[in-house]
Amino acid sequence: MDNQEELEKLIDKLMVSDTLETPSLNFTKKVLEKTISVKSERLVYKPLLPKWLLLLAVAVVVGFLVYGINLYITSGISNPYFKDLNKVGIWSSNFFSQFSLSKTMTYAIVISGLMVCLHTLVLKKYFENRLA
């Protein structure tokens, strides 16, 4: 035990003369430069879909619209294209009329929808804060 205490005293006494090393002069500047790049990395907005895919989707929708309008102009509603479209409408209205929801169920669905919207807003705010 005495030995241990003596050793402790010796090293304590010795370590008083210990000094810290100093890094290069522009150390802080370099760190700040690195953090600036971290900041800009954080601020970069990355869309979920790439631009080209969005453009392609818009082009396809516009293409169908132009095609539909052209058909309507040239052959009117009697065209098979519009007939099929009408069939889809009739089928879907028949399909959904089979279901009858209770009031409780309807309220539950509406409340769930509202909660999802609220959650989306909260998440949006959270991610915006993280990007800031």
Binding site: D2, N3, Q4, E6, L7, E8, K9, L10, I11, D12, K13, L14, M15, V16, S17, D18, T19, L20, E21, T22, P23, S24, F27, T28, K30, V31, L32, K34, T35, V38, K39
Partner: protein, 192 residues
């Protein structure tokens, strides 16, 4: 021995105040760099790891919970970064086994060290710490520069306080043995 009392305004740093962050870097860079240098034994690598430490601090400052001193948190990041770098470069230092020194030997060494000039003592000490294992040198450096606070040290090293005490004793013994070996036999003869 220099000690750090600066407490940064964390909220200002989170808000992107670079002036506050640079104050934080300036106040802790020397100890972070010293620990890195003593663990990695290479100036370039130590500088890089020290810089990365502050970048990590900047990135994760929001996750600082405040359950320890801010400096403790920084030194913990620095210590872990050094361990990661050591793993990466596989610079496993060979740790010599040292026999225990007798009381007479310690007392002789103490007399010799008393007689040596402060500047020279500091130089010798640095050389000897350089010969210690990365964990021993980090342990001693952090202990003596962090107000000998075992509780904070145990948080930095992720060890129990008792474990830190045992490791400190062993590190001191190794340092004393290296010192004895490194000191010029002439010096010992003259002063001892």
């Amino acid at each position: 021995m220099e000690q750090n009392q600066y407490q940064p305004n964390v909220q200002l740093i989170i808000n992107g105040n670079s002036q506050e962050f640079s104050k934080l870097v300036d106040s802790h860079k020397n100890l972070v760099f010293t620990v890195a240098l003593r663990m990695l034994k290479n100036t370039e690598e130590a500088e890089e790891v020290a810089q990365d430490t502050f970048v990590k601090v900047f990135k994760s400052i929001k996750s600082f919970k405040g359950d320890s001193k801010f400096s403790t948190w920084i030194y913990r990041i620095a210590y872990n970064s050094c361990l990661d770098r050591l793993k990466k470069i596989k610079k496993a230092q060979q740790i010599k086994s040292f026999d225990e020194m007798s009381g007479v030997e310690i007392s002789d060494l103490s007399t010799v060290l008393d007689a040596i000039e402060r500047e020279e003592k500091s130089k010798v000490l640095k050389q000897c710490i350089g010969l210690l294992s990365p964990s021993d040198s980090a342990l001693l450096t952090l202990f003596y520069f962090e107000e000998k606070n075992l509780n904070e040290l145990s948080k930095i090293l992720n060890l129990t306080e008792n474990n830190v005490k045992v490791k400190l004793f062993r590190a001191r013994a190794r340092l004393a043995k290296i010192l004895k070996e490194r000191l010029n036999p002439e010096t010992i003869k003259n002063y001892g």
